[in-house]
């Protein structure tokens, strides 16, 4: 076993770093959309609105029950054969949509658990002063649920950053796709994948820092 080709690795760093914005863009947009969608799904699951409830259960079941890669292939390559307008959707948008739908199913359950974790007395207090169910959710329950859900949601965001690596199957050259192509040109697989692993790791560590700040912020109201 020869030593690592350090010069090659150093040369690869700026190349791969130039793909970080795209990776983060896909993850951040998908996370924002998934948060909104998952909140609606979770609130519905708690309130159990007839008919809608069955649809939401089906949605969560499908998107949790099938691999993300299968979903991406279905939407990007399968559906356009049935509905040709769908070829207008480009790879980046399709990847964002896939990540959003897939992760919102998981996050919905996590947010639902957080909603149920808000103390019952808070619900009763809100009702006692005449709040509607919508007001109670928006003003009293969801803000408290957010604090409970934050650590698990950051977990999903981390997973999402790594999930963007599947976008290369849709023709989006993101960080992982760029690494595979560079490795094919150099045969220095270990070096190339080591560099990309460290970049992902640093990204996620930076995110953990943001998580700590977020948790400090959310806990302020509870400080005495």
């Amino acid at each position: 076993m020869q030593g690592l080709d350090l010069a090659y690795m150093l040369g690869l760093v700026p190349v791969l770093l130039s793909y970080v914005p795209l990776t983060l863009f896909m993850a951040v947009v998908a996370m924002a959309l998934a948060l909104v969608l998952a909140s609606f799904l979770a609130v519905e699951r708690v309130l159990r609105i007839p008919v809608l409830d069955q649809l939401v259960v089906l949605f969560i079941s499908f998107f949790r029950g099938t691999p993300l890669l299968v979903q991406l292939f279905l939407f990007y390559y399968g559906l356009p054969q049935v509905l040709s307008v769908l070829t207008q959707i480009d790879g980046v948008s399709a990847a964002i949509m896939g990540l959003t739908l897939h992760f919102s199913a998981y996050m919905a359950e996590s947010i639902r658990a957080a909603i149920l974790g808000v103390d019952r007395s808070q619900w009763e207090a809100a009702q006692s002063i005449g709040m509607t169910r919508g007001q109670m959710m928006r003003r009293i329950v969801l803000p408290q649920a957010a604090r409970i859900a934050a650590p698990t949601l950051v977990n999903y965001f981390i997973d999402m950053i790594k999930g963007t690596s599947l976008a290369f199957t849709l023709g989006v050259t993101e960080m992982m796709g760029a690494t595979q192509k560079e490795a094919a040109g150099s045969f220095l697989y270990f070096e190339a994948f080591l560099v990309v692993a460290v970049i992902y790791w640093i990204l996620v560590e930076a995110l953990s820092l943001v998580q700590r700040l977020l948790e400090t912020h959310l806990i302020k109201a509870y400080a005495r």
Partner: protein
């Protein structure tokens, strides 16, 4: 939260608009970018035999070439769903593919090659010695089918890979891999991996550019095919082949 959503929607919309503005005189060429020396990347520059051939085709036809790289397993789906016009990734002509796609003339004539870890070539000297062995092939490639048509196919364990078949053979995770002879030879010459060719190629393969079968795509196919004829006649194809392989892999097989 609504502001975030609106921003995200706007961003997604602008991305869609940007990439769907294809002119009809653009030739969208799909390739994996991971098949040395046909298509690969060094320092963010896409290059290789396929890139040179398609650039020459573009010059000849006056079309604007746009390279789209994606995982090999996504290429056929992208072609079918009209996201690319053709695939330049050593696509072998098979009866199944010919039924579905319209091919140009073959621009590479080659053979399937067994490759083993250096030192193992005494034990495996060709496809007949693969009995009881584990053999790696690229997922979606033609070599899996070639292997399954061998007389001893039932006793070969075939493993399909997204990437890195050479690496896993060198590591000893599989006994051999099967790929085309030309790029196998090239790979062994250029890479530090301890690999060697095992015996002679066992099946002639003809590689060409597949197009969809609607009228517009067929017209495009005819233009590209005519360009290939010109490039063959004026020696440009042979020249590109010499540059990458030191030999002419584009010549038609002996009649």
């Amino acid at each position: 939260m609504m502001k975030t959503l609106a921003w995200a929607a706007a961003a997604a919309a602008s991305l869609t608009a940007a990439s769907s503005a294809f002119a009809s005189d653009t030739l969208r060429v799909g390739m994996s970018g991971g098949y040395f020396p046909f298509t690969f990347v060094r320092q963010d520059v896409l290059q290789g035999f396929e890139v040179d051939v398609m650039t020459a085709v573009a010059e000849e036809t006056g079309l604007e070439v746009e390279f789209v790289t994606m995982s090999f397993s996504g290429l056929i789906g992208a072609l079918e769903s009209d996201r690319i016009d053709t695939i330049a990734n050593q696509i072998t002509i098979t009866p199944e593919r010919s039924a579905k796609f319209a091919f140009t003339q073959p621009y590479v004539i080659d053979g399937a090659q067994v490759v083993v870890k250096r030192g193992n070539e005494a034990g495996i000297a060709g496809p007949e010695d693969l009995t009881g062995k584990t053999v790696a092939v690229n997922l979606g490639s033609n070599f899996e089918e070639l292997l399954r048509n061998l007389p001893n196919a039932d006793e070969i364990e075939i493993k399909t890979y997204e990437a890195n078949i050479a690496q896993d053979t060198a590591l000893g995770r599989v006994d051999a891999f099967v790929m085309d002879r030309v790029s196998s030879a090239q790979l062994i010459q250029e890479s530090p991996l301890p690999l060697t060719l095992a015996g002679a190629p066992f099946s002639e393969i003809r590689n060409a550019l597949p197009f969809r079968q609607d009228d517009e795509s067929l017209a495009l196919r005819d233009r590209v095919d005519a360009a290939l004829s010109t490039l063959r006649d004026n020696g440009k194809l042979a020249e590109i082949s010499q540059k990458w392989f030191g030999t002419d892999i584009t010549a038609t097989a002996a009649k």
